[in-house]
Amino acid sequence: MSEQQEHTPAIPPAVERARVVWTVISEKFGDAVSPLDENPTMPFFEVARPELWLDIALFMRDNPKLRFNYMACLSGMDYPGEGKLGIVCNLESLGEHGYTIAVKVKCDREGGVIPSVSRVWKTAEWHEREAYDMYGMTFGGHRDMRRILCPEDWEGFPLRKDYQVQENYHGIKVPY
Protein backbone atom coordinates (compact mmCIF):
# COMPACT_ATOMS: atom_id res chain seq x y z
CA MET A 1 0.00 0.00 0.00
CA SER A 2 2.74 2.36 1.00
CA GLU A 3 4.52 1.58 -2.26
CA GLN A 4 1.46 2.68 -4.18
CA GLN A 5 1.30 5.94 -2.27
CA GLU A 6 4.91 6.68 -3.02
CA HIS A 7 4.32 6.01 -6.69
CA THR A 8 3.75 9.28 -8.51
CA PRO A 9 3.60 9.42 -12.29
CA ALA A 10 7.20 9.93 -13.28
CA ILE A 11 8.07 12.58 -15.82
CA PRO A 12 9.47 10.80 -18.83
CA PRO A 13 13.19 11.48 -19.19
CA ALA A 14 12.67 12.82 -22.72
CA VAL A 15 10.34 15.52 -21.37
CA GLU A 16 12.77 16.36 -18.58
CA ARG A 17 15.60 16.83 -21.06
CA ALA A 18 13.34 18.88 -23.34
CA ARG A 19 12.56 21.17 -20.40
CA VAL A 20 16.26 21.85 -19.96
CA VAL A 21 16.59 22.65 -23.64
CA TRP A 22 13.54 24.89 -23.72
CA THR A 23 14.72 26.81 -20.63
CA VAL A 24 18.07 27.59 -22.25
CA ILE A 25 16.38 28.76 -25.45
CA SER A 26 13.64 30.81 -23.80
CA GLU A 27 16.21 32.56 -21.58
CA LYS A 28 17.85 33.81 -24.74
CA PHE A 29 14.85 34.43 -26.97
CA GLY A 30 12.05 35.14 -24.50
CA ASP A 31 8.65 35.50 -26.15
CA ALA A 32 9.91 34.43 -29.54
CA VAL A 33 9.37 30.82 -28.46
CA SER A 34 6.09 29.41 -27.18
CA PRO A 35 5.75 27.38 -23.95
CA LEU A 36 6.94 23.80 -24.20
CA ASP A 37 4.34 21.19 -25.14
CA GLU A 38 5.28 18.38 -22.75
CA ASN A 39 3.82 15.44 -24.59
CA PRO A 40 5.80 12.27 -23.83
CA THR A 41 6.19 11.25 -27.48
CA MET A 42 7.97 14.28 -28.84
CA PRO A 43 8.07 17.47 -26.75
CA PHE A 44 7.99 20.54 -28.93
CA PHE A 45 7.82 24.30 -28.88
CA GLU A 46 6.71 26.72 -31.54
CA VAL A 47 8.65 29.66 -32.86
CA ALA A 48 6.24 32.56 -32.35
CA ARG A 49 8.30 34.97 -34.46
CA PRO A 50 9.26 33.02 -37.59
CA GLU A 51 11.77 35.65 -38.70
CA LEU A 52 13.94 34.58 -35.73
CA TRP A 53 13.94 30.91 -36.71
CA LEU A 54 17.38 31.04 -38.32
CA ASP A 55 18.90 32.71 -35.24
CA ILE A 56 17.26 30.17 -32.97
CA ALA A 57 18.54 27.34 -35.17
CA LEU A 58 22.10 28.67 -35.07
CA PHE A 59 21.84 29.13 -31.30
CA MET A 60 20.57 25.58 -30.88
CA ARG A 61 23.39 24.18 -32.96
CA ASP A 62 26.27 26.22 -31.54
CA ASN A 63 25.41 26.80 -27.89
CA PRO A 64 27.64 24.44 -25.82
CA LYS A 65 24.70 23.64 -23.53
CA LEU A 66 22.58 22.44 -26.46
CA ARG A 67 24.67 21.34 -29.44
CA PHE A 68 21.82 20.19 -31.66
CA ASN A 69 24.13 18.81 -34.31
CA TYR A 70 21.63 16.60 -36.13
CA MET A 71 18.39 17.35 -37.92
CA ALA A 72 16.56 14.03 -38.04
CA CYS A 73 13.60 15.24 -40.07
CA LEU A 74 11.81 18.26 -41.40
CA SER A 75 8.16 17.78 -42.35
CA GLY A 76 5.61 20.15 -43.78
CA MET A 77 2.19 20.75 -42.26
CA ASP A 78 -1.05 22.32 -43.44
CA TYR A 79 -3.38 24.13 -41.05
CA PRO A 80 -6.26 25.31 -43.28
CA GLY A 81 -8.33 26.34 -40.22
CA GLU A 82 -5.70 28.85 -39.19
CA GLY A 83 -4.80 29.81 -42.74
CA LYS A 84 -1.26 28.67 -42.06
CA LEU A 85 1.39 26.33 -43.36
CA GLY A 86 4.15 25.06 -41.15
CA ILE A 87 7.15 22.86 -40.64
CA VAL A 88 8.09 20.46 -37.89
CA CYS A 89 11.81 19.97 -37.30
CA ASN A 90 13.00 17.01 -35.29
CA LEU A 91 16.35 17.91 -33.82
CA GLU A 92 18.80 15.84 -31.86
CA SER A 93 21.96 16.52 -29.94
CA LEU A 94 23.56 13.34 -31.16
CA GLY A 95 26.55 12.06 -29.19
CA GLU A 96 26.69 15.28 -27.14
CA HIS A 97 23.84 15.74 -24.65
CA GLY A 98 21.35 13.27 -26.10
CA TYR A 99 18.61 15.91 -26.27
CA THR A 100 15.66 15.42 -28.60
CA ILE A 101 13.12 18.11 -29.35
CA ALA A 102 10.80 19.22 -32.12
CA VAL A 103 10.39 22.79 -33.30
CA LYS A 104 7.37 24.09 -35.19
CA VAL A 105 7.43 27.15 -37.40
CA LYS A 106 4.37 28.52 -39.18
CA CYS A 107 3.82 30.96 -42.00
CA ASP A 108 0.88 32.30 -44.01
CA ARG A 109 -0.87 29.86 -46.29
CA GLU A 110 -0.64 32.12 -49.32
CA GLY A 111 2.86 33.32 -50.18
CA GLY A 112 4.26 32.44 -46.78
CA VAL A 113 8.02 32.45 -46.24
CA ILE A 114 9.96 30.61 -43.56
CA PRO A 115 13.70 31.31 -43.12
CA SER A 116 15.74 28.42 -44.48
CA VAL A 117 17.98 26.49 -42.10
CA SER A 118 19.74 24.60 -44.87
CA ARG A 119 22.98 26.39 -44.01
CA VAL A 120 22.66 25.33 -40.38
CA TRP A 121 21.89 21.67 -41.04
CA LYS A 122 22.66 20.53 -44.55
CA THR A 123 19.98 17.84 -44.28
CA ALA A 124 17.41 20.62 -44.38
CA GLU A 125 18.27 21.45 -47.98
CA TRP A 126 16.34 18.59 -49.54
CA HIS A 127 13.80 18.41 -46.74
CA GLU A 128 12.86 22.03 -47.32
CA ARG A 129 12.59 21.42 -51.04
CA GLU A 130 10.24 18.54 -50.29
CA ALA A 131 8.13 20.68 -47.96
CA TYR A 132 7.96 23.35 -50.65
CA ASP A 133 7.03 20.79 -53.29
CA MET A 134 4.23 19.27 -51.21
CA TYR A 135 2.86 22.35 -49.36
CA GLY A 136 3.95 25.44 -51.25
CA MET A 137 5.65 27.59 -48.63
CA THR A 138 9.00 29.02 -49.68
CA PHE A 139 12.16 29.04 -47.62
CA GLY A 140 13.96 32.37 -47.55
CA GLY A 141 17.67 32.07 -48.22
CA HIS A 142 17.51 28.55 -49.61
CA ARG A 143 20.06 28.31 -52.40
CA ASP A 144 18.16 25.88 -54.63
CA MET A 145 14.42 26.34 -54.10
CA ARG A 146 13.05 23.94 -56.72
CA ARG A 147 10.51 21.15 -56.65
CA ILE A 148 12.10 17.83 -55.81
CA LEU A 149 9.49 15.09 -56.39
CA CYS A 150 6.82 16.51 -58.69
CA PRO A 151 7.67 17.79 -62.16
CA GLU A 152 8.63 21.46 -62.35
CA ASP A 153 5.38 22.43 -64.04
CA TRP A 154 3.03 20.47 -61.75
CA GLU A 155 -0.03 22.43 -60.69
CA GLY A 156 -0.79 22.79 -56.99
CA PHE A 157 0.71 21.32 -53.88
CA PRO A 158 -0.39 17.72 -53.35
CA LEU A 159 -0.31 17.46 -49.54
CA ARG A 160 -2.47 20.51 -48.90
CA LYS A 161 -5.76 19.39 -47.42
CA ASP A 162 -7.83 21.12 -50.11
CA TYR A 163 -5.69 19.79 -52.99
CA GLN A 164 -7.52 19.08 -56.23
CA VAL A 165 -5.61 17.02 -58.74
CA GLN A 166 -5.09 18.62 -62.13
CA GLU A 167 -7.07 17.25 -65.07
CA ASN A 168 -4.24 16.96 -67.58
CA TYR A 169 -0.50 16.88 -67.49
CA HIS A 170 1.17 17.40 -70.90
CA GLY A 171 -1.93 16.02 -72.58
CA ILE A 172 -2.08 12.93 -70.35
CA LYS A 173 -5.24 12.52 -68.27
CA VAL A 174 -4.29 12.46 -64.58
CA PRO A 175 -7.29 11.31 -62.47
CA TYR A 176 -8.81 7.94 -63.12
Binding site: C150, P151, Y169, I172, V174, P175
Partner: protein
Protein backbone atom coordinates in the same frame (compact mmCIF):
# COMPACT_ATOMS: atom_id res chain seq x y z
CA UNK B 1 13.72 -39.96 -90.02
CA UNK B 2 10.99 -37.62 -91.19
CA UNK B 3 10.45 -36.16 -94.60
CA UNK B 4 11.82 -32.83 -93.45
CA UNK B 5 15.06 -34.30 -92.15
CA UNK B 6 15.53 -36.31 -95.31
CA UNK B 7 15.16 -33.24 -97.48
CA UNK B 8 17.67 -31.29 -95.41
CA UNK B 9 20.29 -34.00 -95.32
CA UNK B 10 19.92 -35.16 -98.90
CA UNK B 11 19.21 -31.99 -100.82
CA UNK B 12 20.02 -29.14 -98.46
CA UNK B 13 16.55 -27.78 -99.09
CA UNK B 14 14.13 -26.59 -96.43
CA UNK B 15 10.63 -25.76 -97.50
CA UNK B 16 8.74 -23.20 -95.44
CA UNK B 17 7.14 -19.81 -95.78
CA UNK B 18 8.96 -16.54 -95.28
CA UNK B 19 6.42 -15.59 -92.62
CA UNK B 20 7.20 -18.72 -90.69
CA UNK B 21 10.95 -18.24 -90.70
CA UNK B 22 10.80 -14.57 -89.88
CA UNK B 23 8.31 -15.06 -87.08
CA UNK B 24 10.28 -17.96 -85.67
CA UNK B 25 13.48 -15.90 -85.76
CA UNK B 26 11.85 -12.91 -84.10
CA UNK B 27 10.03 -14.79 -81.39
CA UNK B 28 13.13 -16.79 -80.54
CA UNK B 29 15.25 -13.75 -79.88
CA UNK B 30 13.10 -11.19 -78.12
CA UNK B 31 15.27 -8.44 -76.75
CA UNK B 32 13.47 -6.47 -74.04
CA UNK B 33 14.44 -2.96 -73.16
CA UNK B 34 16.34 -3.24 -69.88
CA UNK B 35 14.66 -0.82 -67.53
CA UNK B 36 12.60 -1.28 -64.42
CA UNK B 37 10.37 1.19 -62.61
CA UNK B 38 9.39 -0.26 -59.24
CA UNK B 39 8.97 -3.51 -57.30
CA UNK B 40 7.94 -5.38 -60.46
CA UNK B 41 11.44 -4.71 -61.75
CA UNK B 42 12.83 -6.93 -58.97
CA UNK B 43 10.66 -9.77 -60.22
CA UNK B 44 11.77 -9.01 -63.77
CA UNK B 45 15.42 -9.17 -62.69
CA UNK B 46 14.72 -12.45 -60.90
CA UNK B 47 13.17 -13.78 -64.11
CA UNK B 48 16.28 -12.79 -66.02
CA UNK B 49 18.58 -14.36 -63.41
CA UNK B 50 19.72 -17.95 -63.38
CA UNK B 51 16.81 -19.54 -61.47
CA UNK B 52 14.26 -18.72 -64.14
CA UNK B 53 16.72 -18.01 -66.92
CA UNK B 54 15.01 -16.12 -69.74
CA UNK B 55 17.96 -16.75 -72.02
CA UNK B 56 16.65 -20.23 -72.73
CA UNK B 57 13.94 -18.42 -74.74
CA UNK B 58 16.52 -16.15 -76.34
CA UNK B 59 15.16 -13.29 -74.25
CA UNK B 60 18.00 -11.08 -73.17
CA UNK B 61 17.71 -7.49 -71.91
CA UNK B 62 19.38 -4.82 -74.02
CA UNK B 63 20.41 -1.51 -72.61
CA UNK B 64 19.48 0.58 -75.62
CA UNK B 65 15.97 1.10 -76.99
CA UNK B 66 17.44 1.04 -80.50
CA UNK B 67 18.39 -2.62 -80.07
CA UNK B 68 15.18 -3.69 -78.37
CA UNK B 69 11.96 -4.98 -79.83
CA UNK B 70 10.06 -5.53 -76.60
CA UNK B 71 9.33 -3.07 -73.83
CA UNK B 72 8.51 -4.58 -70.44
CA UNK B 73 6.90 -1.78 -68.43
CA UNK B 74 7.72 -3.19 -65.01
CA UNK B 75 6.06 -1.21 -62.27
CA UNK B 76 4.59 2.13 -61.29
CA UNK B 77 4.60 4.69 -64.09
CA UNK B 78 4.54 8.13 -62.49
CA UNK B 79 3.41 11.17 -64.47
CA UNK B 80 6.99 12.39 -64.43
CA UNK B 81 8.25 9.07 -65.84
CA UNK B 82 5.43 8.65 -68.38
CA UNK B 83 6.99 11.02 -70.88
CA UNK B 84 10.33 9.21 -70.62
CA UNK B 85 8.58 5.90 -71.20
CA UNK B 86 7.00 7.35 -74.34
CA UNK B 87 10.37 8.65 -75.51
CA UNK B 88 12.00 5.24 -75.02
CA UNK B 89 9.11 3.59 -76.85
CA UNK B 90 9.47 6.00 -79.75
CA UNK B 91 13.19 5.22 -80.01
CA UNK B 92 12.52 1.51 -80.45
CA UNK B 93 12.54 0.21 -84.03
CA UNK B 94 9.49 -1.46 -85.56
CA UNK B 95 8.13 -4.04 -85.11
CA UNK B 96 7.97 -3.48 -81.39
CA UNK B 97 5.91 -4.99 -78.60
CA UNK B 98 4.87 -3.76 -75.19
CA UNK B 99 4.27 -5.97 -72.19
CA UNK B 100 2.68 -4.23 -69.21
CA UNK B 101 3.79 -5.97 -66.04
CA UNK B 102 1.88 -5.66 -62.76
CA UNK B 103 -1.15 -3.80 -61.44
CA UNK B 104 0.47 -0.34 -61.32
CA UNK B 105 1.43 -0.42 -64.94
CA UNK B 106 -1.87 -2.03 -65.99
CA UNK B 107 -4.25 0.35 -64.24
CA UNK B 108 -2.51 2.39 -61.52
CA UNK B 109 -2.62 -0.39 -58.93
CA UNK B 110 -2.90 0.78 -55.33
CA UNK B 111 -2.60 4.38 -56.55
CA UNK B 112 -5.85 4.00 -58.48
CA UNK B 113 -7.90 6.46 -56.45
CA UNK B 114 -5.62 8.73 -54.44
CA UNK B 115 -2.34 8.57 -56.33
CA UNK B 116 -2.26 11.95 -58.00
CA UNK B 117 1.25 11.24 -59.32
CA UNK B 118 0.67 7.86 -60.99
CA UNK B 119 -0.38 7.20 -64.56
CA UNK B 120 -3.57 5.09 -64.37
CA UNK B 121 -2.39 2.51 -66.86
CA UNK B 122 0.51 2.73 -69.26
CA UNK B 123 -1.92 2.17 -72.17
CA UNK B 124 -2.83 5.85 -71.80
CA UNK B 125 0.49 6.75 -73.41
CA UNK B 126 1.68 3.71 -75.39
CA UNK B 127 -0.18 0.76 -76.95
CA UNK B 128 0.08 -2.42 -74.87
CA UNK B 129 0.06 -5.90 -76.42
CA UNK B 130 0.11 -8.11 -73.34
CA UNK B 131 -0.90 -7.40 -69.75
CA UNK B 132 0.52 -9.49 -66.91
CA UNK B 133 -1.63 -9.23 -63.77
CA UNK B 134 -0.23 -9.39 -60.26
CA UNK B 135 1.26 -7.15 -57.63
CA UNK B 136 4.00 -7.89 -58.41
CA UNK B 137 3.61 -10.89 -60.75
CA UNK B 138 5.82 -13.86 -60.00
CA UNK B 139 8.49 -14.75 -62.57
CA UNK B 140 6.28 -17.60 -63.83
CA UNK B 141 3.57 -15.07 -64.64
CA UNK B 142 6.03 -12.86 -66.51
CA UNK B 143 7.27 -15.88 -68.46
CA UNK B 144 3.62 -16.65 -69.27
CA UNK B 145 3.23 -13.10 -70.57
CA UNK B 146 6.39 -13.35 -72.64
CA UNK B 147 5.14 -16.59 -74.15
CA UNK B 148 1.94 -14.75 -75.02
CA UNK B 149 4.04 -12.17 -76.88
CA UNK B 150 5.73 -15.03 -78.72
CA UNK B 151 2.34 -16.47 -79.65
CA UNK B 152 1.32 -13.06 -80.97
CA UNK B 153 4.45 -12.88 -83.11
CA UNK B 154 3.73 -16.38 -84.42
CA UNK B 155 0.29 -15.19 -85.57
CA UNK B 156 1.69 -12.30 -87.57
CA UNK B 157 1.95 -12.35 -91.33
CA UNK B 158 3.30 -9.96 -93.89
CA UNK B 159 0.43 -7.73 -94.94
CA UNK B 160 -1.82 -8.11 -91.92
CA UNK B 161 -2.06 -5.65 -89.08
CA UNK B 162 -1.24 -6.24 -85.44
CA UNK B 163 -4.94 -5.97 -84.62
CA UNK B 164 -5.73 -8.78 -87.06
CA UNK B 165 -2.96 -10.90 -85.55
CA UNK B 166 -4.43 -10.29 -82.11
CA UNK B 167 -7.84 -11.35 -83.42
CA UNK B 168 -6.34 -14.57 -84.75
CA UNK B 169 -4.70 -15.12 -81.37
CA UNK B 170 -8.04 -14.57 -79.67
CA UNK B 171 -9.71 -17.20 -81.86
CA UNK B 172 -7.02 -19.62 -80.73
CA UNK B 173 -7.43 -18.78 -77.07
CA UNK B 174 -8.38 -21.48 -74.58
CA UNK B 175 -10.64 -20.93 -71.60
CA UNK B 176 -8.47 -21.74 -68.55
CA UNK B 177 -11.62 -22.70 -66.63
CA UNK B 178 -12.21 -25.58 -69.06
CA UNK B 179 -8.60 -26.71 -68.77
CA UNK B 180 -8.82 -26.77 -64.98
CA UNK B 181 -12.15 -28.61 -65.11
CA UNK B 182 -10.73 -31.19 -67.54
CA UNK B 183 -7.69 -31.68 -65.32
CA UNK B 184 -9.94 -32.17 -62.29
CA UNK B 185 -12.09 -34.69 -64.06
CA UNK B 186 -9.00 -36.52 -65.22
CA UNK B 187 -7.70 -36.61 -61.67
CA UNK B 188 -11.04 -37.95 -60.41
CA UNK B 189 -11.12 -40.63 -63.06
CA UNK B 190 -7.63 -41.91 -62.34
Amino acid sequence: MGLLDARITKHNVLVTSVDNVMNWARLSSLWPMGFGLACCAIEMMATNASNYDLERFGIFPRSSPRQSDLMIVAGTVTMKMAERVVRLYEQMPEPRYVLSMGSCSNCGGPYWQHGYHVLKGVDRVIPVDVYVPGCPPRPEALIGGLMKVQELIRMEQIGITRAEALKKLEEKSVDPGHLIEDARQGARAS
